[in-house]
């Protein structure tokens, strides 16, 4: 059967760490959702390029939505496809699963940020709008996304997709509201005065702290769950 050739491996890859194998599995389980995620992203980029900067807030919210959709889809696949059962059969510990899931979410978030930043630069070039303060914007977006994820991930680990998703949507609404209010409060002149290194450093610090606390909480809850 010729299509069997597609499976054949011609070399033995170096063994991956447990968490990275789990990341690979997570990315595999996202495959069926790739089309939806890519379409959402494409719409976001198109909106940015074809409209004036007035839609920046909407774009930010859409970006956050896309970022939040990844954990949503991962935990949805866990429950709908019975992947929790698979995880329990596979030789991976619960701690490794938690670390791997956080790594997947972080990885996809960073990928989204890279694409989003690229699209903003394209937008700036097409619309001749100055892209000053981009670094601040990116830093803020990463911090916002990671803080939201740091709150939502333990809920998913503790309750599972079905029971946590309503809380997740409520969280999304609150996050969007807070972002809109925050953006309205920010004075462009004031933002320009903040050294970009401070914004980036602060974002990284906030993200790492939130993620570490969140992962610890997730593991504490998840290890007590029986399926």
């Amino acid at each position: 059967m010729s299509s069997h050739l597609a499976l054949r491996r011609t070399h033995t890859p170096a063994p991956l760490a447990g968490w990275s194998r789990f990341v690979m599995l997570d990315l595999h389980s996202l495959l069926p959702f790739v089309k939806t995620i890519v379409i959402t992203f494409a719409v976001m980029i198109l909106l940015g390029v074809t409209t004036a900067p007035t839609l920046q807030i909407a774009q930010t919210i859409v970006a956050l939505g896309v970022i939040m959709a990844v954990p949503l889809n991962l935990f949805a696949a866990d429950e709908q496809a019975g992947l929790e059962l698979l995880y329990q059969i596979l030789p991976i510990r619960k701690r490794t699963r938690v670390v791997g899931r956080y790594a997947t979410v972080l990885l996809t978030t960073l990928a989204a940020v890279v694409v989003g930043t690229g699209s903003t630069l394209i937008e700036a070039a097409v619309t001749n709008v100055p892209s000053g303060g981009l670094l601040v914007g990116v830093g803020t977006l990463i911090a916002a996304a990671l803080i939201v994820q740091a709150v939502q991930l333990p809920l998913y680990f503790a309750l599972g997709y079905q029971r946590a998703r309503l809380l997740n949507f409520a969280l999304l609404a609150v996050a969007a509201l807070l972002i809109i209010l925050a953006i309205k409060q920010i004075s462009p002149a004031g933002v320009a005065e903040i050294p970009q290194a401070v914004v980036l450093g602060g974002s990284v610090l906030v993200a790492v702290t939130c993620y570490a606390l969140s992962a610890w909480l997730s593991y504490s809850w998840y290890r007590r769950r029986e399926f």
Partner: protein, 286 residues
């Protein structure tokens, strides 16, 4: 605990409120196949979950391949009677997703099994029939060349031809590897010619545990009219009666002195398992 044993359980208890498994003693030597038989809700899946390290014990000790079940996972693979693959995956994607977790994964063997089962690598998991889904699960369980394969109802719901196909693959696997298999099934006939050990569970307790070959030496099938049933009820096991006749099994040691009107013959696996595993009229079964 001895590493010559694939599974060794002593006084295993799992209490789930309305259902209690155990205490169960279980011993599977390496290189042997254990058939685990019992009706729905008898505790087979709970026992399997304990062996796979998926559930904690409330009492007792359980060792798998000489270590704790959670630590043995790299050498243990399973087919469970439930879906555990992303429906949107293709067969090839499922293989690619699972493969990295097992250093001993034999890709050539995986491909040969896919070809033998005529599973199209491009077919989506959600498009597979029940039988094809079971076959894929079996490929994913055997390609890592596990030291212990735990197969929970791998033939459940399959037509006779597909069932035989699956059984043949399991037999071939056992022939080429010195592995151990725990094989749970509703169909006692599946165990003929493959199982070395038989464990029958009922209502959370092991009601029989022994060598398959000894089964038909330990028990005889008996048939007779209902007139003979009442006087013999303390000696018969799992007696089932119609309006005129009954059938049951009897321990070989209890078979002496039965009335000549009662027909005593060699018991099949089916006779024994049915009598031991399925509850019958109170006061007759024991």
């Amino acid at each position: 605990m001895s590493t010559e044993l694939a599974i060794e359980g002593r006084g295993v208890v799992r209490d789930r409120g309305r259902f209690r498994l155990g205490p169960v003693d279980l011993t599977l030597p390496r290189g042997q196949v254990m058939g685990l038989v019992g009706p729905n809700g008898s505790g087979k899946t709970t026992l399997i979950k304990a062996i796979l390290g998926m559930t904690a014990l409330d009492a007792g000790t359980l060792s798998v391949l000489g270590t704790a079940p959670e630590r043995a996972k790299g050498s243990v693979c399973a087919v469970l009677d439930a879906k555990f693959l992303v429906p949107g995956w293709s067969v090839a994607q499922a293989v690619r997703a699972i493969r990295p977790f097992y250093p001993n994964w034999d890709q050539n063997y995986a491909e040969s099994l896919l070809a033998r089962f005529t599973l199209d690598p491009d077919a989506k998991v959600k498009e597979l029939s029940h039988g094809e889904g079971n076959k894929l699960a079996l490929v994913l369980a055997l390609a890592p060349l596990p030291e212990l394969a735990v197969l929970d109802e791998p033939t459940s719901g399959l037509d006779p031809l597909t069932r035989e196909e699956v059984m043949q693959v399991i037999r071939d696997y056992m022939a080429r590897r010195d592995s151990s298999v725990l094989f749970s099934t509703h169909i006692p006939a599946d165990l003929g010619g493959i199982a070395d050990q038989l464990v029958v569970v009922r209502a959370g307790r092991v009601v029989y545990s022994g060598h398959m070959d000894a089964l038909t030496e330990v028990f005889f099938a008996v048939r007779g009219t209902n007139d003979d049933l009442l006087p013999l009820r303390d000696r018969l096991i799992g007696a089932r009666s119609t309006t005129t006749n009954f059938e049951a099994i009897v321990r070989a040691v209890d078979s002496g002195g039965l009335p000549s009107s009662v027909l005593v013959e060699e018991a099949s696996i089916d006779d024994v398992v049915k009598a031991l595993a399925v509850p019958v009229t109170e006061g007759i079964a024991r």
